[in-house]
Structures are given as C-alpha cells and as structure tokens.
Symmetry: C2
Subunit: 147 residues, 2 copies
Amino acid sequence: MNGRVMNMRQLISLVTLGVDDLARSRRFYVDGFGWKPVFEAPHIVFYQMNGLVFSTWLRTALDEETKRSSPVKSAGFTLAHSVESRGQVQPILDHLAKFGGRILRPASEPPHGGMRGLVADPDEHAWEIAWNPAWPIDAQGRVRFGT
Amino acid sequence: MNGRVMNMRQLISLVTLGVDDLARSRRFYVDGFGWKPVFEAPHIVFYQMNGLVFSTWLRTALDEETKRSSPVKSAGFTLAHSVESRGQVQPILDHLAKFGGRILRPASEPPHGGMRGLVADPDEHAWEIAWNPAWPIDAQGRVRFGT
C-alpha cells in the first residue's frame, strides 16, 4: 500500500520555525516583512499565509512538541518569498537586514533565470527572496510551478 | 519604512529541504506520502502543493545556494500535513515509518484539541501529521487558521 492508496493530499498546512527570542523574531516578521499576526501568545505567533499557516514558536516549546533537543543538526532548508519584480529583491534583503536579518547571499540571477538573494532570520532560518517570472502567482497568492 | 510600506505579501512560495540521498528521500515522499513530482532532475525533486511548491534538494547544492555549510545548527522547525480524520494520524505515521520515516511522537491529543503525531523524514526533517478540526481546508487545499 502506498501513500496514494492512503489518499494523502499534496498539502502543507503549517510551517513552524523554532526561535530563541519571540520578540526578536516578531520584529523580523512583523516589522521587517510587514506581516500581520492572526494569533499571538507568549510562546507562539501565527500568521495566515497563502493557503497555509506560518508560525514562530519558542524552541523550548517546539522541542517539547517534537520530543527532540535543539539545536537539531539539519541538512538545511530554505523558505522562499516571491516578489513582483526583479528590482525588489536587493532592497528587500537590505530592508530585512535592518530588522535582525543577516544577508547570506546578495541578489543575483540564478541559472534558471529570474533574480534571488538569501537572508537568514534572527534564528538562522534561511529565506530566499525571489523574483521568478516562470512561476505564476494568482490573485489568491497560489503559486504554481512553471518551467 | 516597514514591510507593510514595502508591500510584501504574506506569501511562502517554496519550501526546500536539504537531503543527503535523493532516492531515499524520494521514497519517503513519493512512495510514503504518495505525492507526485511535478519536476525531477538528478539533484532536485519538485512537488506542486496547495498554493506553494515543495522541493527536496541535495544538501551540497543547497549549501552552494545558501552560501552556508551544512549541517546547520538550527532552533528546529516542523512542517505539518493535515489529514481528514482523527483515526488517520497513527496509521499514516506507521505507514511513513515503512518508507524511511522515524516516529518522533506517536499520535496523541494536543492541548488545543484534535490529534497529532510527529515523524522525521530520512534526513531528520520533522513532519507533524495532524487532524485539526479548528482549521478549515477548502476544496483547493487552502488552510485557514482557526481557534
């Protein structure tokens, strides 16, 4: 029996990042990205995204949830945020750097075209800021893979 | 100038996980979750998800992209996959464990209600398998925060 038989949807409902200092993280996401929380508590902040939910959670609480001890040694991961034009990538990286971000890679053109740069949030979670004209985004913010 | 002035949408376009062995990872996601890739190359697999794209990328290539060396010490993160009923959580954890997953936490009821368990993928990336009746999911797979 494979997963298709089990009828699992191609669905990510929530992305949660562990953070050491919720106020420091909130500054990056709320003041830097300009995102509005949908729910806040002393240990967690939730944001309604494009068809999924994003949250930042105190690492101690996340460790208790996952039954693991952080820091977790990870093969790494990135989240990407798409912007509407080539010219927005570097200004947004610079802007996020003023709110606790650390630029990992300045804006440049990747091999497949477009423009992208990378910034780490205050907890070293990497965000790619990308202009990718091959991936259409509809009015509801739904992103579609394109080549 | 804050992010709202910069007009950044509340948008995650792509979630990328670094992996050590693409075939091993593919088995977990394609045969375990039953997800169908939308694009495959020797170093990367892309999946079209609910309004965003998911990819697994060889860690060496991801390191080159982010200009960091893995393993990255991280405060941890989780991705969540929602299922349609309470009774699906444990069978799906057991199923994924047969395709390279490692159960971190068996199904149980969290303080806010519903049911959830956690499983690590073959690269130790944690997935929460969740039944959460408070978060509605529409026919297009768009998940909405609810309380």
